[in-house]
Amino acid sequence: MALGSFFGSFDISAFLNALILGISIASIWLLAALGLTIIYGTVGVINMAHGEFIMLGAYSSYMLQSYFSLPFLLCIPASFLIVAAVGLILERGLIRYLYKRPLDTLLATFGVSLVLMQGVRLLFGSDPKYIAVPTIFSSNVQFGFVNISAFRMVVLGITIGAVVALWALFYRTRFGVQVRAVMQNKEMAASFGINSDRVYMLTFALGAGLAGLAGSLFGVLNIVLPTMGSAYVVQAFLVVVVGGGTLAGSVVAGGATGELQSIFAYFTNDTFARFLLFVLIVVLLRIRPQGLFAPSATRR
């Protein structure tokens, strides 16, 4: 059934719409994966609580909006800061003791994810919340014969902004040089006087903050629930694994998976598109187990 219509109904404007939509899907996949990528790439921790950081971002926005009547556009950066602070506390209180035992961080962050989920449930209850959006974002923009929703453009804009900002941070600032040095060789960097402890701490907080930013936006597209993180964390891990754990890898992997998902779905249907995508990813990982852009072998 699915393949029957593969070339049956090709419509150039609809196909262009699918391409544009692919970019927007890619931005969501990438946004979910950014924080995970930099935590994994720099600190080397596979953060199982990433989905719950996303969830915390959504709840932060909800809380700020409904308890403190903060305008929606201010909720987004505020969620970044709140979750970054949570990440910072977590890193200082727990993660930093486990850097020498990377496998244990997996278990520890998984525990943290459960604690965060139950904590939010105790605090806010398990009934769903919603984040109200200004009506200006609930509309559709038409460029020629291409349609895109205003809020998807916001997500796309913020994703591009976040990628550019991260690139600038890593490649244009002193902190970035330190991060890259610590990534290459922690002990060597430390012997050159870089405070690697501080670098780890800030990177972890930054990664958490990015998850919070993502959560704040996802909460608008979807439902806000204590369990919402699990819906995004799979996508995030997928992008990181395919990308190989580097920033550039994640950008390419996020873009490719989002675009493929949208194009496959155009030709077939959503379910089959997912199937095709996962088959492709399995094949890719069979050929390149280290992902698209693996970090250099000298790491750590």
């Binding site: 699918a18 009934d127 919340k129 929703s149 959503d270 379910t271």
Partner: protein, 438 residues
């Protein structure tokens, strides 16, 4: 969970002995475990099992089900219980996990010896526990809508079947908005079966199906589907998307610039609880077919809504069709058990005998918030009047159409070749009878 320690120890010891005696080293049926112990004793609490998810992805509707069951039990107990005995619920958390559903079913039957189970929201979890329920010849009250195509000796269902749902909704939408429709559903058994049913009513109403898309259960990306809908230009959308996906669907529908006035979504599941979760502005204007709405204007419903919301269980601040169907199941149980006790005496009552006495049971206007319903004496589903509501700006539903007559539940309406579900089992057209078909 358990009532008292000694009781628990005694039962565990009994179970252990039975387990040792059982051929495969495991208790196979409740009869082997309990011997001739009667299920209920006069004057002692009647234990029932509430098998819903309090955590995980299904907690949103199912926690409400647990709350409303507790409310109904309190209400029944306050009015004298069942034949003088109070109902005592054994509450478990199925954690939205099919394995836990099945485990807890065994536990409730074998360890707690509940006389009936109330539970499940998805067909997947129902199908996960039914083999156990049937093997133990036990009784499951399934209090929500489902697709049908089942004929067992051990279930009583108080929600609408697929044929009851769409019979009025599809012709109504075609008449009001136009012939062209697009189907969207979550990718599992209930939406697919419901859509098969809807197609029959669509054909009868002279409608035209432009496309049919399914989204993975729990999926939240509706971009590709909405793109296809934009190209197809239907007059309305028929949705069987459930849960968190449903909320994402309605939100993205509006955010992608679709207009509810020209292309409303007609749904089988988007009720008060969903609209509240998505924000009223995303639900307003869309349609739902259900036998119950919080806004139903009758004295019984006013009493139910006020009573529930004021009670300690009404903390979520709303009632919806799924809750009401669960509430009804408590009364269907009460009447069925009373009839069984009257006919067989306390010692003779078994879960199965309650079902045998439940055919034709009515829940009258004064008790049932949606108005009179009754249990079909052949397939043990419910005769009810489906209603169509349109969501208003404040999130409440306005009833725009109500079936004039009760609609018969027909679990095999789209599979006439399979036969008819009767009290004896599924009777095929050639006269062969099969019991417990799932």
């Amino acid at each position: 969970m358990g009532t008292n320690r000694r009781d628990f120890l005694k039962k565990t010891a009994l179970l252990g002995t039975a387990a040792a005696a059982a051929p495969y080293g495991f208790v196979r049926t409740i009869d082997q475990a309990w011997g001739a112990t009667p299920w209920i004793k006069k004057g002692e609490p009647i234990k029932i099992g509430l098998l819903f998810s309090l955590t995980g992805g299904l907690a949103v509707p199912e926690e409400d089900s647990t709350l409303v069951m507790q409310y109904a039990i309190d209400e029944i107990n306050k009015n004298g219980g069942i034949a003088g005995s109070p109902i005592e619920p054994v509450i478990v958390d199925a954690k939205s996990d099919f394995n836990v559903y099945s485990e807890k079913t065994k536990e409730l039957i074998l360890r707690n010896k509940v006389i009936a189970l109330f539970g499940c929201y998805t067909s997947a979890s129902r199908k996960a526990i039914l083999p156990t329920v049937m093997a133990q010849n036990h009784l499951l009250y399934y209090p929500t809508c489902y697709e049908g195509a089942e004929c067992t000796q051990n279930t009583i269902c108080t929600g609408p079947l697929a044929n009851q749902h769409s019979q009025d909704l599809i012709p109504f939408m075609v008449k009001e908005f136009g012939k062209k429709v697009f189907f969207v559903g979550s990718n599992y058994v209930w939406p697919k079966e419901s859509n098969k049913n809807a197609k029959i009513w669509l054909e009868k109403a002279g409608g035209e199906l432009l496309g049919e898309e399914y989204i993975p259960l729990g999926g939240s990306e509706f971009g590709p589907v909405l793109n296809k809908i934009r190209d197809a230009k239907p007059n309305f959308i028929f949705s069987t998307v459930v849960g968190a996906s449903d909320i994402a669907f309605h939100k993205q529908f509006k955010q992608e610039g679709f207009k509810v006035d020209t292309m409303p979504i007609a749904s089988l599941t988007t009720g008060e609880i969903e609209t509240r979760a998505m924000g009223n502005e995303f639900g307003a204007g869309h349609f739902l077919s259900a036998p119950y709405f919080q806004a139903l204007d009758n004295p019984t419903n006013h009493k139910f809504v006020e009573g529930f919301l004021k009670s300690k269980y009404g903390k979520n601040g709303t009632t919806h069709y799924n809750m009401e169907e669960t509430y009804l199941s408590a009364y269907v149980f009460k009447y069925g058990l009373e009839k069984a006790i009257a006919a067989l005496g306390y010692d003779g009552v078994t879960p199965r005998s309650i079902r045998d006495h439940s055919g034709g049971i009515k829940v009258e206007d004064g008790i049932s918030p949606e108005g009179l319903i009754w249990i079909d004496d052949q397939n043990f589903n419910t005769w009810l009047k489906p209603k169509i509501g349109q969501c208003q700006a404040d999130g409440s539903f306005k009833i725009v159409k109500q079936a004039a007559e009760h609609v018969a539940p027909d679990p095999y309406s789209i599979y006439p070749a399979s036969g008819k579900c009767t009290a004896k089992g599924l009777v095929a057209p050639d006269g062969k009878v099969r019991t417990n078909v799932i």
